[in-house]
Structure formats: C-alpha cells, structure tokens
C-alpha cells in the first residue's frame, strides 16, 4: 500500500519536472523566434541602403560650355558650372522629347549629379573636349524602382515618377546603363534632404563624440565614487542614504536626465545646444550609477583575505585598495562600464530634449559642433515621407545593432578572460 503511494508520488514528481522543462524550452524558443523576426525584418528592409543605383551617362566635356581650358586652375574648375553639359547629356537620352518633358528628364538623376561630374573631371583633366561615360547617382525614386520597392502598376498620379520617366528608365535598363554599386556614401555622407544622398557619417561621428565625452566623465567619476563608497567611507546613515539614492538613480527614466540637461547645462550654464558635449554630459549622468553599481559589486566580491594580507604587510589603506583590490575588480567594472555605454549609445529621449534632433548636414569635427547621433537619426528618418528613407532607417538600426553587439561581446570577452586568469 505504502509502496504504491510512493510510486505514484514519484511519478508525479517526474511529470512535474518534465512539464517544467517543456515550459522552459518553449519560452526560449518563443524568445528566439521573436528576435529572429525582428532581425529578419530590419535586415530585409535595411540591406538595400548599402547598395546604390547609378546611371552610366555619356557626357561631352565641351570646352566652350564649361568655359574652361587646359590650364584652368582647380579653383576655376570648382567655380565652373557643369549643369549645362549634364542637361545636354540627359536630353540626349530622348532627343525628340517635347519641351514640357525636359524637366522630367533632368529629374532622373540626383541633384548632386553636377557635383559628381565636377569631381570626376577634377580627377581626369585630360578629358576636356572629349566624351566620356560617367557613373551618376540615380534619383531616389528610380533607385527605389530599381530595388523593387515601388510598385509600378499603380496609376501615374499616385506615383512619384511619370510614365515618361519610367519609359526612359526601362530603355536605360535594357541597354545596361543602370548599375547597382556598393553604397559607400551611406557611410561617408552627412544627412541630406535627398534620400539617395543621405548618409550616417554625421550621426556616426556624433555618436562617437558623445560616447567619448560620456566615457571621459562617467568612468573616472564612477570608479572613484565606487571605490570611496565601498572601501573608505564610514558605514553610517549618510553613506546609506547615498547608496540607496545611487540605486534609485539607475532606475530614473532617461528623459528626466534630458530635462536636467536642458535646465542646467543649456539654460543655466549656456553650453552650446545640440552638441555631443552636452549630450555626453547628460548621458554621463545616466551612466554614472550604471558604472558605480557593478564596480561596487566587483569590489565587494574581492575576498577580504586579500585586503588583510596586504594590510598585514604594512601596506597603507590606499596601497591595499589600489594595488590589490581594484585590479581584481577591474574586469567586472569594465564590463559594467561597456554595458552602461552601450545603453547610452542607444539612448534617444534625453538627447531630443537638448536639441540633438536638428537636421545636421555636415559632419561634426569637434564635440562642440552641432550633431546628431545614431538613434536620433533613426528617429528623424523614420518620420520622413520619402520611400528612400525607410531603408535608410533600417540600415541605421543595423549599424547601431552592429556596434551594440561589438561592445557587448567585448564586455563578455573581458569578463571571461580575466576571470580565468586568477581562479
């Protein structure tokens, strides 16, 4: 009787175990599925931005139309207008086109096409008075057509390109004059109103400056605060209150730090608006508790016997801490810092408040220049109407995720490497 009862109980226990395992596997599977969908979605939308579509156009570098000669200086070339020869080349695509359609022909290429010709000419001076095939950026709308993002069978008045443009485009495609290239300018260009020209350089550099300022401020402050609180501060009411508040600070919504930055850094100290300097300062406030907490945890994890060993040798308190305790706590601290920074890298809300949301079409050269950052760039582009910005938005997210993965892997690497060394 007793044995049968025991048997049944045992069976029940095993079943419970099996069920628990199943739930666990199920939830992991769901999490991975969601992640996969997210990544697939972003990549399928964004990968197009890493390619650009160009048109091969035969251009006649006519000396008279350019107003240049073989001895023209670089300055003269830069000041010359290449618009006319560009227009000639474009009109030559459909010589019989009525006057009305000519404007549509000119719109086939990007507004930067003239600059691209100029650059090409600067690198190849000897082509004056010759015809040459130059590769020019296609307009954003046709670029999207080429990438298959624009349906072509909807009525003309609901498209951003005309039937006439489409006809010319199809001719060019059949003549292999439309080519797809790796879009380096997405990484080297600043933001632009024209989707085919817009790039992430300004926000990439802005993010770099912002993180740099953030690291410069929060790392030393965080480490010193943590070391002092953990190793030197007397344990009393005041330090207890500080400790509780550091933990609270880590839970404060980031937008509050943005308000603080707006109120203090901008309106009181008159620091320059929209700059990585202020952005970095605001993010440093946010990152500080995220450095202090792991650093203190790492210090706490150092066995007290190490401290006693050093003290018993006659090392002073500072020597004991700096020589023997802090080096042991460094891996944990560093990985905490990197994770804090990667959170700062993805932060948007506080930066919107201090004006880092402005349209910046130059790459900043110092942390004092107005600039955007990657997540804000995502926000800005996601609000734009042009179809071309959709893929740019996703592509920027890809870049952001790429940096986050690198930073977090580095944090994990540090932790593993140094933990192995001494245990």
């Amino acid at each position: 009787m007793n044995n049968i009862k025991k048997e049944a109980l045992l069976k029940k226990r095993y079943n419970a175990e099996k069920r628990f395992k199943l739930y666990g596997i199920l939830s992991i599977f769901l999490a991975i599925a969601f992640l996969f969908i997210l990544i697939f979605n972003i990549f399928s939308k964004g990968s197009g931005a890493f390619l650009k579509t160009e048109i091969l156009l035969n251009i006649n570098f006519d000396q008279k139309k350019l107003g240049l000669n073989n001895n023209s200086s670089e300055k003269e070339i830069r000041e010359a207008s290449f618009d006319e020869i560009l227009k000639d080349a474009l009109l030559a695509l459909a010589p019989s086109a009525p006057e009305l359609k000519q404007a549509e022909l000119v719109d086939i290429v990007s507004i930067d096409a003239e600059l691209e010709i100029k650059k090409f000419f600067l690198n190849n001076r000897d082509i004056l008075n010759k015809s040459y095939e130059v590769s020019l950026t296609l307009s954003d709308d046709l670029d999207q057509v080429y990438k298959g993002n624009f349906p072509r069978d909807i009525p003309e008045d609901r498209r951003r390109f005309s039937d006439f443009q489409l006809k010319i485009y199809d001719e060019l495609v059949s003549k292999n004059k439309i080519v797809s290239k790796l879009n380096w300018s997405f990484l080297t260009n600043a933001d632009s109103r024209e989707p085919e020209l817009a790039g992430v350089a300004s926000s990439l550099v802005g993010s770099f400056f912002t993180l740099f300022v953030c690291l410069l401020l929060s790392f030393p402050l965080g480490i010193l605060a943590a070391i002092y609180l953990e190793e030197f501060a007397p344990k009393n009411k005041i330090t207890e209150i500080i400790e509780v508040n550091v933990n609270n600070l880590a839970a404060v919504p980031s937008i509050v730090f943005g308000l603080l930055g707006l109120g203090v850094f901008l309106n009181y100290f008159y620091l320059p608006r929209s700059t990585p300097l202020v952005g970095g300062m605001v993010l440093a406030l946010m990152t500080l508790p995220r450095i202090i907490i792991p650093c203190r945890a790492a210090l706490k994890a150092v066995p007290p016997s190490i401290r006693e060993g050093a003290l018993a040798l006659g090392a002073s308190k500072v020597q004991t801490v700096m020589h023997n305790v802090v080096p042991l706590a460094m891996p944990g601290t560093l990985s905490g810092t990197i994770i804090g920074l990667s959170q700062a890298l993805g932060e948007t809300a506080p930066l919107l408040l201090i004006g880092m949301v402005a349209f910046i079409n130059v790459v900043p050269s110092t942390p004092l220049d107005p600039s955007a950052v990657l997540p804000v760039q995502v926000y800005l582009w996601s609000e734009s109407a042009e179809r071309g910005f959709v893929e740019k938005t996703s592509a920027t997210i890809i870049i952001l995720i790429f940096f986050l993965i690198i930073m977090n892997s580095f944090a994990i690497y540090l932790r593993n490497k140094f933990e192995k060394k001494w245990s």
Binding site: G309, A310, L313, N324, P327, W422
Partner: protein, 255 residues
Amino acid sequence: MNNDKIKISTRNLNVYYGAKQALFNINLDLMEKKVTALIGPSGCGKSTFIRCLNRMNDVIDICKVDGSIKVDGSEINEKNVDVNKIRERIGMVFQKPNPFPKSIYDNIAYGPRIHGLAESQNVLDEIVENSLKKSALWEEVKDRLNQPGTSLSGGQQQRLCIARAISINPEVILMDEPCSALDPIATAKIEELIDELKKSYTIVIVTHSMSQAARVSQNTGFFHLGKLMEFNLTEKIFKNPDNKMTQDYITGRFG
C-alpha cells in the same frame, strides 16, 4: 625563562566587539626568538589576541582595544602610532593561505616594494630568493616564479605566505592556525620551518593541535572564555599544569 629578553608585553588588555567583551585583562610576555603557542577552545579569543599585536583589529569598525601593548618597551596601542610601521615589524600569516592574485615573484616582492627595501632589481631578486629559501619553497617554485601564486597547492601557498611575511624582514611573525588547512606532510614542513625561523624571529602561533604546540613551542598560553588561564613553559604546561582546566583541555576532556 629567566635570561630571556621580553619582545612584546601586554598589560590589562581588554578587547570589546561592540558591547561584547572578547578579552579580559590579558597580561602576557612574549620572549624574543622563542616560539610561543596559544591554545584554547574555539571562540576563546586567541585570534583576537594576536590581531591586537599588529593592530589588525583596527580594521574591524566595532572592535575596541583597551590597555597597554609594548614592543621593545614602547607602547603601540596608541592613536598616534603609525600602524603601517608596526605591521612592517610584526608580520602575520593567516589561517587560510591568502596569496595575492599576482605571480609568485610579485607576491614576495610586494612588501619590499612598498617599503622601498630594494634599490635595484638585483637586490629585489635576492630578497625574493632568500625569502623563498627560508620558507623552504625555493626548490619547488624556482622555475615558475611568473606563474600566479594561486596556482600552488594549499601547503605551498601557505609557505608562500610565510615567505611573503619574512620578505620585509620583520621582528615578529604571528601565525593564526597556519596548518589548519594542510595535510600532515605539509604541516610537518611548516613545523620544521618554524623551528628554523625561530633562530631569527620571535614567533607566536595559535593552534588547535596540542601535539603541534608541544613540538614547536617553548612557551604556551592557555586561553578560556577570553581569559588567559595559564601561561608557562610548554614543558610545564604539558607535564603538570597548575590549572585544572588546562589539564582537562590538553588531555581532551573538554573543548
């Protein structure tokens, strides 16, 4: 005991952890270049006592040490005495080996470095070698000085800690149950070492092993519930102690 020189003497030493008193009126003289063993049941205050001698109890916030501790006749239990200087003169070896997470070499070199005992790399090398030789570890580690100290066995680690303690050439070495984590062979090595070290250092050793106290020490003190019950020549304590409790303890009837 007559013609021995007193190295450390405590008078009316009372120690409190918060409101709780851990030591009561300890009066004890430690002889120079002798081994003094401290025995007694767990919790009787042996560790507390030897931690007073190099002011390690300062580290514990709630610990208050009252009374006089004289080293070579000068008082050390005063606020204005530099504890780092005292600890340079009075080294300590702990119950659990606690090598620094550095190389074997750096473990030994750490003390001389912070006290500026070596003007050159050669002198430092020499100190490291001598310390390791004195602690009978040199032969085992001379080819692997760059490996982490934590890679050694428990017994080797404890000898490393002894080498570390003698690297700054202290006058006194305090050992708190240095063999409690070791096997009999490692224990025998350390006991031999203590015998050797007493030629140049004053040694205080806390131990739970009666036989160890009998083997290595010249004087023995018996603690009970925070009081020093008996202090005398080791031979006398183990052959015919004055105190009944001492007798009971060393014969294993309590404790």
